[in-house]
Structures are given as structure tokens and as C-alpha cells.
């Protein structure tokens, strides 16, 4: 077995957090090895673990060992069961994941209901969501985005792997306002109106 492969294996096994190629380069020291070499070795190592009960996976550019997903039932009884998320929390998480960076008023607009104080907190406590700077708009509202741990937790290689992301994008459902081209067909039935693009936001926010 390639000596460096063994070293990577030991490193990843002992690491407290998933390791990026840059982390590994730092640990490897000044040996003659390029980041590309490391990436190739990581892929080789991951493949060698394919059939095993432990697998090596990449999440957001960081690598970690975890148990094979089909063996959850073996370990689950030995661990505390994770807290069940409320429906509000799941929706809020989905909105943050698919619309990030997103502000609280935007989350409320999409859900059509106020976000209670605890909801975002629960997601932050779980380590899935983080504040992501302020929006440069009136009131400078705080924005939220997902964390690297979110990818680790939900087994996503990157944010592009969010389920259904491409479809939602194509359907315009990740836009802030109704896409005007969607209107096309329905508008056709209607007489030409000059203010077709005006105030699409007036929608459900009657209670605002």
C-alpha cells in the first residue's frame, strides 16, 4: 500500500472535523506532493472503502470517514436519537438552503407566516445555518446561509447537489418574485396591459 495513502487514512480516521486537501497538505508537510496528488489518493482511498462498512466521502470539499448509510440500523440503537425537527424548522431550513443568502423577511414571505424566534435558533444550534452578513438594502437585514456541516449532515457533496435544485431554478421558483415569462401563457388571454410588471409583491402580504 502506498505509504502516503496509509498516512491519509490515519489522518482522516483521527481527525475531529472533515479535512480539506489544504488541511492535508499542511499536515503532510513539505514533502514532494501536490494537491492534485492528494485528491487522486483520496479518490483511490474512497474507492477502496466502497464495499466496506466504513466509507470515505467528500462533503463540501472536505473528506471524512463515516459508517455506510445502509448500516444505520446497526449503530442507531447505541446512540441518542436526534431531535425531531418541527415542520416550521424543516421549511425554514429548506428555504435557507435553496434561497441562500436569505433574510428573515424573505423567509416569512415565502412561508406566508412569521418565523418564530426559536426556529432559526434551532437550525443554528444544530450547526446547519449561520448568519451570512447583512444585505445592503434598507434596514441592512441579516442574511442566513447554510454551513459546511449542513452538507456533512445531509450527505451532500456540495450545495449544487441539493435535491431538485436545478428543477426549481428552471421553474423560476428560486426567484424573489414571480417570473414574468411564467405569466406569458396566461397573459395571452388577457388584453395588453402596460403595468403587467408592476408590483408583483402585493400578493399575500395584505397583513403586513
Amino acid at each position: 500500500m502506498n505509504p502516503l495513502l496509509r498516512e491519509l487514512e490515519a489522518m482522516l480516521f483521527a481527525a475531529e472535523t472533515p479535512l480539506s486537501v489544504a488541511d492535508i497538505m499542511r499536515l503532510v508537510g513539505d514533502r514532494e506532493v501536490s494537491p492534485d496528488d492528494v485528491t487522486a489518493l483520496l479518490e483511490e482511498l474512497a474507492e477502496s472503502y466502497g464495499p466496506r462498512g466504513i466509507v470515505l466521502v467528500e462533503r463540501g470539499g472536505r473528506w471524512l470517514f463515516q459508517t455506510a448509510p445502509d448500516l444505520g440500523h446497526i449503530i442507531r440503537p447505541t446512540r441518542d436519537s436526534p431531535r425531531k425537527l418541527s415542520r416550521a424548522a424543516v421549511e425554514t431550513l429548506a428555504i435557507i438552503a435553496y434561497h441562500q443568502p436569505v433574510t428573515r423577511p424573505e423567509i416569512e414571505e415565502i412561508r406566508g407566516v412569521g418565523v418564530s424566534a426559536g426556529t432559526v435558533d434551532v437550525l443554528m444550534e444544530a450547526g446547519w445555518v449561520r448568519p451570512a452578513g447583512r444585505r445592503e438594502s434598507p434596514g441592512r437585514p441579516l442574511q442566513y446561509a447554510t454551513t459546511p456541516h449542513f452538507l456533512v449532515h445531509f450527505g451532500l457533496e456540495s450545495r449544487r447537489d441539493l435535491p431538485g435544485l436545478a428543477d426549481l431554478k428552471a421553474a423560476g421558483l428560486l426567484d424573489r418574485t414571480a417570473p414574468t415569462e411564467l405569466f406569458g401563457e396566461m397573459m395571452a388571454a388577457e388584453t395588453e396591459s402596460e403595468d403587467s410588471g408592476a408590483e408583483p409583491d402585493a400578493g399575500v402580504e395584505a397583513d403586513a
Partner: protein, 251 residues
């Protein structure tokens, strides 16, 4: 109290059975009603949806359920939207009711999509539920091995400093040779009494090999001359800038 909310309420026209418990606002109710139309949300009939919502609200009120204000605001807004949609199209209408209907439809689709992907996200293999990591990994970290930097020069100069400190531990101020001002006044006064004519001030300086003492004497003698002049006991004269400074005693 939740028992009351669990009461099934009948809602026309799709025989949709609803309970008010657990609704997350009017949009949530609207989405449930829209889904009950069993068509693609993009092809949904907004007019039918509005009717269903108004029936839902009417039913809820007939059961004397407490409805939050936003449900009623939504009902009023939908009733207005419905009336606009039924009227002949008015090109001047602002906002355009068709557009408002489309916006509502977009919001329902978007919320539905978020629920769908939320469920799909949770159905993935989750860490701590389906996959597990080691409980207490050792952790990897680089430890620094100190390499102390100290040259022979550092060492020797440090020792030199210690020894120097030990030998000159008492700092004594060395007495410097100066001609004090009062001494200079006394001396100048005495000499002026002897020489009555204009005399260059340099000639009154004490003779000395020590250049520092000569500089000091020049300064104090000059000041002494100024002082005696101020007191009216001497005259000072200088014909040009940087020229010879002449002094004469006044009886």
C-alpha cells in the same frame, strides 16, 4: 382546547376535511385547498381556490373558532381579488388583478416546492441517524517544536551587560566645568571697574585650556553684560550684526 381544534369541519366543494389545529397561517390553508384540487399547481383555478377559502373561513366562524386576524385579512383580500377577476378586464386597473392572481399562484407553488425539497432533504442519509462518525476522535494537529534563536553575540553581549551593570551600579553625575552666572557677574563688574574704555567682551573671558569651560564662560559673561546694562551699570555696543560686542563700565 386543542380538542376543539381537532373537530372536523366540512368544506365544500371537494369534501375536504379540515381541522384548524396546526395550520401555519392562511397561505398554508390555501396550499392545502389548492392541492385538494388535484391539478398541477400551475394550472390551478384561482377563482375556485378563493371560493374554497371563503367557505373554509365561513365554516370556521360558524363553529365559533377563534380565527387569527391574518386569516380574515386574507379572506377580505381574496374576496376583493375575486370581484376584480370577475369584472370585465380593466386596462387601467392597478395593480392588475390577473397579475395578483399569478403572484398568489407563484407563492403557492414556491411554498409547495419548499415543503417538497424540505421533505426530500430530511429523507437523505443523515449523519447521526443513518451514518455515524467516530465518537471521540483523537484529532490531528500540528505541534510546533521550538527552535531557540540565540547567537554567540547575543550571549556575550548579555554577559557584558551583566558585568557592566555590576561594576557601574552607582551612577554618579560628573561635575562639568562651568562659569556660573553670579560668578560671571561678579567677575565682569570687577574687571569693568578697571577698564573705563570700550573693550571687546571676549577680552574679559577667563583663560583656560578647557574649550567647554570657555564656551560656558562666554555664555555666562554675555548674560552678565546684559544684566549689568539692564541695571545701568554698563553700556553695550555692537556696530554690525555678528560684529565685535563692546562693553564699557558706567560709573
Amino acid at each position: 382546547m386543542s380538542d376543539q381544534f381537532d373537530l372536523p369541519i366540512r368544506s365544500a366543494p371537494n369534501e375536504l376535511t379540515l381541522s384548524l389545529d396546526g395550520w401555519e397561517g392562511p397561505l398554508d390553508v390555501l396550499l392545502a385547498l389548492a392541492r385538494a384540487q388535484k391539478v398541477d399547481l400551475s394550472k390551478i383555478s384561482i377563482l375556485a381556490l378563493v371560493d374554497q377559502y371563503l367557505v373554509f373561513i365561513a365554516d370556521a366562524r360558524s363553529l365559533r373558532l377563534e380565527l387569527a386576524a391574518d386569516y380574515l385579512v386574507m379572506a377580505a383580500w381574496l374576496a376583493y381579488l375575486k370581484s376584480c377577476l370577475l369584472l370585465p378586464p380593466d386596462p387601467e386597473a392597478d395593480p392588475d388583478p390577473q397579475l395578483l392572481a399569478l403572484q398568489l399562484q407563484f407563492q403557492l407553488q414556491r411554498l409547495d416546492a419548499m415543503r417538497d425539497v424540505g421533505a426530500r432533504l430530511l429523507a437523505r442519509d443523515q449523519l447521526g441517524r443513518d451514518t455515524f462518525r467516530r465518537i471521540e476522535p483523537e484529532g490531528v494537529r500540528i505541534t510546533g517544536k521550538p527552535v531557540w534563536d540565540c547567537s554567540l553575540f547575543d550571549l556575550l553581549s548579555a554577559y557584558g551587560a551583566i558585568r557592566a551593570r555590576a561594576t557601574h551600579s552607582v551612577y554618579a553625575v560628573k561635575r562639568r566645568a562651568v562659569l556660573a552666572l553670579d560668578e560671571a557677574i561678579e567677575r565682569l563688574e570687577r574687571l569693568l571697574g578697571v577698564a573705563v574704555d570700550w573693550t571687546e567682551i571676549a577680552r574679559f573671558l577667563p583663560e583656560s585650556e578647557d574649550s567647554e569651560y570657555r564656551r560656558s564662560a562666554l555664555a555666562s559673561t554675555f548674560v552678565a553684560a546684559l544684566e549689568l546694562t539692564r541695571q545701568g551699570r554698563a553700556d553695550l555696543s555692537q556696530t554690525e550684526a555678528f560684529g565685535a560686542l563692546m562693553v564699557r563700565g558706567k560709573p
